[in-house]
């Protein structure tokens, strides 16, 4: 009897991996859950891939009704494709920890022996991969339904600008997720309220330059504004009516990415401590 108790004694187990390796493993594990979870529910695929593009269709048809140049339809198409990413950042990143709290499993995240940032990065990576696939639906609608055509452009530049935009955007999502950690229903409502105003401030369906000074302010706050403008400049050239030269926009996007990654890390540590102190981590139905 005493022998079997002695065998059970060392209950404090060390994780097999620590440091960078644990970070990467946690990141990949969370990405896997995000990917599998997204593919498991077919209706979510429709809502994420098709619905954002329905709004875009309406705006393209409005341009047709107003007799706008065809390049404006391409502008709206690029904006419509980017809404898919903003929705994913807002709901799949920002509000995700609120959903976890509502489902009663947020505490498991905090009990896990890995970095919170690794979990958030995994959510971002998985969300990005699945959203890239879904955003192709928007491109297909633009090409085959609306017959939108663009002049040849460098795919490598496009990929580079896209990566910069996505790093900045998903880093913002990581920051938002820690902010939403504290809240209950407010998180849901905030995400809801941020959707269309950001569409407007990012000039997703019209040239950002149309906003004038407001557009410049938005570009200084929202990576989506700069990313939208930069991607349009790559694809449409002068017809994009760009806000800033492409090089400057890329630099600013890189700066946004670094800033939001640091902010995400700091705010997660601070707000986790605050949420624990105020007893909100496990609070449901508030």
């Amino acid at each position: 009897m005493s022998g079997s108790l002695a065998a059970l004694a060392p209950i404090e187990r060390r994780p097999r991996h620590t440091g960078a390796r644990l970070f990467v493993q946690a990141l990949l594990a969370r990405s896997y859950v995000r990917l599998v979870g997204s593919l498991r529910e077919p209706t979510w695929m429709i809502s994420d891939a098709v619905f954002p593009n329905l709004g875009m269709c309406g705006f393209v048809l409005l341009y047709r009704a107003l007799g706008a140049p065809r390049s404006y339809e391409a502008l709206a198409l690029i904006g419509g494709v980017l809404t898919t990413y903003w929705i994913n950042v807002l709901w799949g990143m920002g509000a995700q920890l609120y959903f976890e709290k509502m489902q009663g499993q947020l505490q498991l995240y905090f009990a896990a022996p890995c970095s919170r940032l690794a979990i958030l990065s995994g959510m971002a990576l998985g969300g990005l991969v699945i959203t890239v696939l879904r955003s192709l639906v928007g491109v297909a609608i633009g090409v085959w339904v609306f017959h939108i055509q663009v002049a040849p452009f460098s795919p490598w530049v496009l990929v580079g600008v896209f990566v910069l935009t996505m790093v900045a955007l998903y880093a913002l999502g990581m920051t938002l997720s820690s902010l939403f950690l504290l809240y209950g229903r407010e998180a849901w409502h905030t995400a809801n309220a941020l959707q269309e105003p950001v569409y407007f401030l990012s000039g997703l369906y019209f040239p950002v330059r149309t906003l004038g000074a407001l557009g410049a302010v938005a570009a200084g706050i929202l990576p989506l504004t700069l990313g939208t403008d930069a991607l349009r400049q790559v694809v449409l050239g002068p017809a994009a009516h760009g806000l800033l030269p492409l090089g400057k926009e890329c630099l600013a996007l890189a700066g946004f990415g670094a800033l939001f990654l640091v902010l995400a890390s700091r705010s997660m540590a601070y707000l986790e401590a605050l949420a624990k102190r105020e007893g909100r981590l496990t609070q449901r139905w508030q």
Partner: protein, 290 residues
């Protein structure tokens, strides 16, 4: 139906409206709540105005015809808030009660009755939508220059059309609420889809001529298409160009009335059919952790 039973229903609907208001609004102070309610409709209105401004700045959409057409689209977009709030909102109320708060079963167990409860909840949604519509029109009028000639407003047909449009919104809201009872996790997607599809199908911001031919016929079968056309004619003073020009003002009202009655009958029957099905399938207290 006796007077006492009507009074009882009204009292229950009033209680449901009060509860709805608490559910919708007690998470924030009034200023924050007002910002929340107005952010979405105002942003959409500003997007439309910015698109129109961008086209005009580059030489398109010039002249009074284009301006009048845009005014019509803007007005219809403002009134589409009723569809977003009431039509889709009633379905969301069911979804929230069942999934979020897990209280739908208690509503069923109470003597209020689900249909009356939903009617009460719709009152709050109507109030919020009305605030959104007025704010959108005021921002349009004072900040964006979206104006119409008040002398051309046809008040009587406008009132009739608005009453019919609001009734159609409510009945279709009941239908969607019933559908949400049957759907479990998919209700969220279905509601969002209906909201977006109605924006496209009813030609809120473009003439339905631009839709593919079979879809155009579906659009003509929806009361909202006729309601928005009536709003353009009787409030903004100009109907949509294209195929809608074939219809006289009286015909627009007739089609609005007819489609509203048909949808009201279908929606009432559909709601109770869905409710029975939801009970049979045991969906009233089913949670999926969406």
């Amino acid at each position: 139906m006796t007077l006492a039973s009507v009074r009882g229903s009204l009292a229950r609907a009033r209680t449901a409206a009060w509860l709805g208001w608490q559910v919708e609004g007690n998470w924030a102070d009034p200023v924050l709540f007002a910002i929340y309610v107005l952010a979405r409709p105002l942003a959409t209105a500003l997007i439309l105005a910015a698109m129109y401004g961008a086209v005009r700045a580059h030489g398109g959409a010039a002249g009074p015809v284009a301006a009048a057409a845009f005014t019509g689209f803007f007005v219809a977009n403002a009134f589409h808030n009723y569809a977003n709030q009431v039509l889709v909102g009633l379905g969301w109320a069911v979804f929230d009660e069942r999934e979020q708060y897990e209280t739908l079963k208690y509503v069923y167990a109470s003597p209020v009755g689900m249909f009356t409860y939903l009617a009460g909840r719709s009152l709050v949604k109507y109030a919020l939508a009305t605030v959104s519509v007025l704010a959108t029109l005021l921002v349009g009028w004072f900040l964006l220059g979206v104006r119409w000639d008040w002398a051309h407003v046809q008040w009587l047909p406008l009132s009739v059309a608005t009453a019919a449009g609001l009734a159609a919104t409510l009945f279709l809201g009941f239908l969607l609420a019933g559908w949400s009872l049957v759907l479990a996790r998919a209700a969220m997607v279905a509601l969002e889809g209906v909201s977006l599809a109605s924006y496209l199908l009813c030609g809120v911001i473009f003439p339905i001529d631009l839709l593919p031919s079979p879809v155009r016929w579906i659009a003509l079968g929806l009361p909202f298409t006729w309601w928005y056309e009536a709003l353009r004619r009787f409030l903004a003073g100009h109907g949509t160009l294209g195929m809608m020009q074939r219809f006289t003002d009286a015909q627009v009202l007739q089609w609005l009335g007819l489609t509203t009655v048909v949808f009201a009958v279908l929606a009432r029957w559909g709601y109770f059919a869905f409710e029975r099905e939801a009970r049979r399938l045991g969906r009233l207290d089913q949670t999926t952790l969406f």
